[in-house]
């Protein structure tokens, strides 16, 4: 450290540090640096520092309240003589090298003189435009669907019902029909079942059986249950990955295979097991190549 410091000291431009991002990590770094005597510029793209942490309830591993940790740090950052806050700004360019950087920052217009503002909040309260109701943009999700899709989806909704507990069944049938959940259809379901689209997406991304990306012609599901694991399923998965050149959850470029893993299929006596389009196959890593070739060959024969 001392050697490094000397070499820096020989250069005329030193002693100031730019910290990018005013989240908890940025704030802590800025405070530590500033306390060690460096001049710190803290750049943040939002109008104020703090980042995501104020939105959290508890923090790991001590389960302390997030705001209780953050608030004192926010105050000391604002008051520290060595820290200069550059908020509502974007970093455009960094040039130079160790000890001699030139940074371009674009400060967006705030239309408030920061040096005079004392944060009283009167302007917010008195703004006339603030309370003007904003019209939501009405969009009929029905228009985005083709007639054929509309017919299918309407039929599904009709059989499953429009109750709140119908959302998952509707999505399951659509997932089966289309092999994934098309975005336009999700928007339409949200509209028909009168459930916020955000909640529909929450459900769609929560459950592993739903896919937002189109699946391939064949879905290979490798069982990763404990019984299959101790009998060597990880090696089977590795082999399949190597042959198809995809990771699990991905589809091959030719759209033929989608590789997925499943927790347990309950066919533990046969393990390791691979399921191809609902057919169970006991397999071992040395048979993977022949197994995949067989599927491709069968496909060609049908074609």
């Amino acid at each position: 450290m001392s050697d490094e410091k000397k070499s820096l000291a020989s250069n005329s431009k030193h002693g100031s540090v730019l910290v990018i991002g005013g989240g908890i990590a940025g704030i802590q770094s800025a405070l530590d640096l500033a306390d060690s005597g460096f001049k710190v510029y803290l750049v943040e793209s939002k109008p104020s520092i703090g980042g995501v942490m104020p939105q959290l309830d508890k923090t790991f591993p001590t389960n302390d309240c997030a705001m209780c940790i953050l608030a004192p740090k926010l105050v000391s950052t604002g008051r520290h003589p060595n820290i200069e806050l550059i908020t509502y700004s974007d970093l455009k360019n960094i040039e130079g090298q160790l000890g001699n950087f030139l940074v371009t920052i674009n400060k967006r217009a705030r239309s408030v003189d920061e040096s005079l503002c004392n944060g009283c909040g009167l302007c917010v309260e008195n703004c006339l435009v603030r309370f003007k109701p904003q019209k939501p943009i009405k969009h009929d999700a029905k228009k985005d669907l083709s007639e054929k899709d509309l017919e299918i989806v309407d039929k599904i909704i009709q059989t499953c019902g429009k109750e709140p507990d119908s959302l998952i069944p509707v999505m399951q049938v659509i997932n089966e029909n289309y092999k994934y959940l098309p975005k336009s259809i999700l928007a339409y379901i949200a509209q028909e079942l009168e459930i916020p689209l955000s909640q529909v997406y929450h459900v769609a991304t929560f459950y592993t059986s739903f896919s937002l990306k189109p699946r391939g012609k064949h879905t290979l599901r490798v069982c990763m249950g404990t019984a299959c694991h101790v009998r060597g399923s990880p090696r089977v998965l590795d082999e399949i990955k190597r042959h198809l050149k995809i990771e699990s959850g991905q589809t091959t470029n030719d759209g033929l295979f989608t590789l997925e893993t499943v927790n347990c299929l309950g066919a533990c006596a046969l393990g390791p097991v691979v399921v191809v389009d609902d057919e169970y196959y006991p397999i071992s890593s040395s048979k993977v190549e022949d197994f995949l070739k067989k599927i491709i060959k069968e496909d060609e024969q049908i074609a």
Binding site: H202, F206, Y207, V230, R231
Partner: protein
Amino acid sequence: MNKLLKNYNDFDNLQKEVTTKRDHNRRLITICNGTGCNALKGKTVTKLLVDELKKQGVKDVSVLATGCHGFCEQGPIVVIRPENIFYKGIRPENVERIVSETIKKGKIIEELLYIDPKSGKHLVYEKDIPFYNNQKRILFGYNEFIDPTSIEDYISIGGYKALVHILREKISPLEIINIITESGLRGRGGAGFPTGKKWESAYKARSKDKIKYVICNADEGDPGAYANRSLLEGNPHSVLEGMIIGAYAVGAQQGYIYVRAEYPLAVEYFDKAIQHAREIGILGKTILNSGFSFDIKIAKGGGAFVCGESTALMASIEGKPGEPRVKHIHGTTSGLWDKPTVLNNVETWANVPLIINKSSDWYKKIGTEGSKGTKIFSLVGKINNTGLVEVPMGITLRDVVFNIGGGIKNGKKFKAIQIGGPSGGCIPEKYLNLPIDYDSLTDAGAMMGSGGMIVMDEGTCMVDVAKYFVNFLKNESCGKCTPCREGLVQMHGILTEITEGRGKDEDIELLEELAEIVKDTSLCQLGATAPNPILTTLRYFKDEYEAHIKDKKCPAHVCKSLITYNIDTKKCVGCQLCAKKCPVEAISGKAKQTHKINQKACIKCGICYENCKFKAVEVH
């Protein structure tokens, strides 16, 4: 289409009719059509059997496709009644001989019999096979006698008798709850909460509009456990009857069954069971004109492990993401849609009609002081007789593994048994004489869970197993609370470092510390029990962790980064099989000359090791 029954007399008549029609001493070929046997072409064999009987002109013998018999290792299983001749591993080519020799001439085909590995004898009858005769199959035994898609079959073995008895005699809900409490039945989902107590608090709970729910938890997410599935596939009506009785006892009008979507056959059969029960008037509005109404809906899971947790399951039924909530208030007071709800496991529900029929005194006699009745376990992993076993509580692990399970595959040495799924623990050899019940398993650091028993031999690396479970739970954590979401990632990171040879001495201590924090601070049981695999493996197999960290060796030869494959020059005959099979062409050597593995190119896939016929490939 089944005929609608209008009153109790109609039911009695139907029962008489089907009992004579479906005499269990009639000549019958039963074949297992469970998922395990179906994967081994059980369905094809069934069809061939029917065709073959017709072709050979046999008329008085019928074929019965039943649910799981439990002995999945030997599938597809065929049992010929009334003699109960047991044939295993039936292939399509065996069908012709079964009909022409056994059915027509009564001759037993020796090649299809089960061979006792201990005595080497061919065993003809089911009752002689150690796998079966060491069990006590009070729930599961019916599977092999009935067609799961026929309500008449279920009635012919005494089905719905308990329900009709309750309705006819107008037995009060409190009396039923008393019977269940007295029987000592505890929740089979794993935690072992007394069922009677749960029902009682739901019965007493007040609901403004008098709406209450019962739920059957069939989200059997534990990897390596499939007992619930086989019960639903083999005898769905027993679960249904249990639910109807439960609903009557607590005063519920609507029931749900939450089944994993990975179990399509269970969903199909249970759906059929519901339809048939509705047709004959056992389910729906005023059941058999008793004034009691109850109906059931099926909810399919979406492949989220956490949905097996009661509050997450309820959220999922409500159409929300399956995230658990804090349980200040029990589900029995405020569960599904904030109404009093009783949630029980498939097996718990199936026990209910049995207890009503045979009395709580009879049930109490089975099992130990604290745990009554039987429990179905999935005995899987490196064991000879993989399958489902139903044993009385209190049986020792040794009995299960060595008598019923037939010991370890390929004569290897037993190392540990993992009980209770990802939340359970690994129990080492010195505890093999432990009697299985809720409390003793918890004391040993494992838990009953949904009944998965995964047997591990000397070729299983315990650090790798711990990593496997932590990885599983890391992926399945719903992400709502921080200790579980972040803690599991950290623990997985440390375990990965250890298995890849970068472990540090202080890692064991750090793991222990993290495990305790996650255990104490997680929101639901998924997180609170998540460290169990780490804690038990650390408790019983610390030496393996130390071997990974200090010696950079994996004693079980599992962790890829810590092993190397070599060819024994003395054993290699130069057959070139390994060189041909090697996916990265890392093996060199001409025909009839010893081969060599290029360690730089080797990806340690183990294919050469698997394929070598002379055992010349060694792992170090």
